[in-house]
Amino acid sequence: MIDEGRALFLQIAESVENAIVEGTLAEEAQAPSTNELAAFHRINPATAAKGIAMLVDKGVLYKRRGIGMFVAPGARQVLLGERRAAFADRYVDPLLAEARKLGLAADDLADLVRDRASAWEAASVNEGMTR
């Protein structure tokens, strides 16, 4: 789960951000403590603290004195915005590179995306019905 070649504190921050984006960590909910994160990932607590500090600086988390760190209101929207902006760099560029290797043109790629999207759509509709 931990990537060898990237700064650990960044990965910790990301894992908390992921939880916020996915909704498992709601706004105004208490974020895991530094010690909890360190113990869970088996890392140095100072590193975990650095990750949390970064999120506080960023405004994603805020501190309630004597209690702990909480998810700031609006954090999810901010993160979604951030990730959408980075989406092209992180996902589209590699996709294009791989497509080029395989000889897929941009149109072929677009068709593939649309087909898959509708397949997913159908699957989740079914699920919605049976629930």
């Binding site: 060898e4 070649g5 650990l8 960044l10 088996r42 140095n44 607590p45 560029d93 590179a97």
Partner: protein, 306 residues
């Protein structure tokens, strides 16, 4: 907000010479309070020598060493706040682990017997069996338990894992982190199992052939190198002008490790060129910078015609 760090150890131009060999060659570094340091390097690089000199068990040929601001030699005030159980530690004849821990309790004012008892169980150490009859792993466990339970303000662990199997090693790392979280202290851990300790250590100091070649925050070092894989010609074109620390080829494919962060622009260029970028783990980075095989080009800047 930056506060000036509390330095508990300061080493200035430390040199240790044995006859013709320089075991430690003009080494300078400082250790900040309550952080976990990794003192990494190959066997015989000088790690144990440095730690021995810091604890006044060995003597410097030249240079200055200060612990808590004072010189450690014959300094009970300073020495009593440190604990250094070396890798091949000798114990009194016929002593059992129970004896050893009873003796340790006499000298380490913060000794925690409950912690020691718990660790004895964790490591499945037979407490009444004579130390000279213990297996290599059990012997290591004795040293590890003394180090952990001592709660010494500066605790050294000298290659503590020798003879410990993977499960025992993980127990050690877990207990170390647990105890450090509840009772912070300065820890200096020497190891050549770099990947195993990479997530524990906040700072990394690498010693190679008696010299310090790296002294940094672990996270800063992690981002420092990247591995670029692809068609040899294309890779070479990309790495021209960059610091290369390692290269491998198989047929027309090369994997080259470069130092220096890659900008987003770089990454776009790489993706466009069909090259793959991979992370370089701490262990790989250190191994590649300390390899000295004849075919290895070591640290060299590209540009020269080969």
């Amino acid at each position: 907000m930056t506060t000036s760090p509390d330095l508990v150890v300061q080493v200035d131009h430390l040199t240790k010479r044995y006859r013709e060999t320089l075991a430690v060659d003009d080494v300078s570094f400082s250790i900040e309070k309550d952080k976990i340091y990794g003192l990494l390097g190959r066997n015989g690089a000088g790690k144990t020598t440095v730690m021995s000199i810091l604890t006044a068990q060995n003597f410097a040929t030249s240079g200055d060493v200060r612990v808590f601001g004072e010189q450690p030699y014959e300094n009970a005030r300073v020495l009593g706040r440190m604990c250094f159980v070396r890798e091949s530690q000798k114990y009194p004849d016929d002593a059992t682990p129970t004896h050893a821990f009873a003796m340790a309790r006499l000298f380490f004012p913060r000794w925690d017997q409950k912690l020691a008892d718990r660790l004895i169980e964790d490591f499945q150490l037979p407490p009444k069996k004579r130390i000279k009859k213990l297996s290599r792993g059990q012997l290591s466990a004795v040293g590890v338990i003394i180090g952990l339970a001592s709660r010494a303000e500066i605790t050294f662990f000298d290659e503590p894992y020798l003879g410990l199997d993977a499960v025992a090693r993980q127990i050690f790392y877990d207990r170390l982190l647990e105890d450090y979280t509840l009772h912070p202290r300065t820890v200096i851990l020497s190891s050549h199992l770099i990947d195993e300790v990479a997530n524990l250590i906040e700072k990394v100091i690498v010693i190679d052939r008696g010299r310090i070649i790296m002294d940094d925050d672990t996270d800063a070092v992690r981002d420092r190198a990247a591995s670029i894989v692809g068609d040899t010609a294309i890779v070479e074109a990309f790495v021209a002008g960059r610091e290369v620390i390692h290269r491998e080829s198989l047929g027309r494919v090369s994997s080259v490790t470069v130092l220096g962060a890659l900008s987003p622009e770089d990454r776009r260029r790489l993706a466009a060129a069909g090259l793959e970028v991979g992370p370089v783990s701490l262990q790989q980075l250190i191994v590649r910078t300390t390899q000295h095989s004849p075919s290895d080009t070591a640290i060299t800047t590209e540009g020269a015609v080969r």
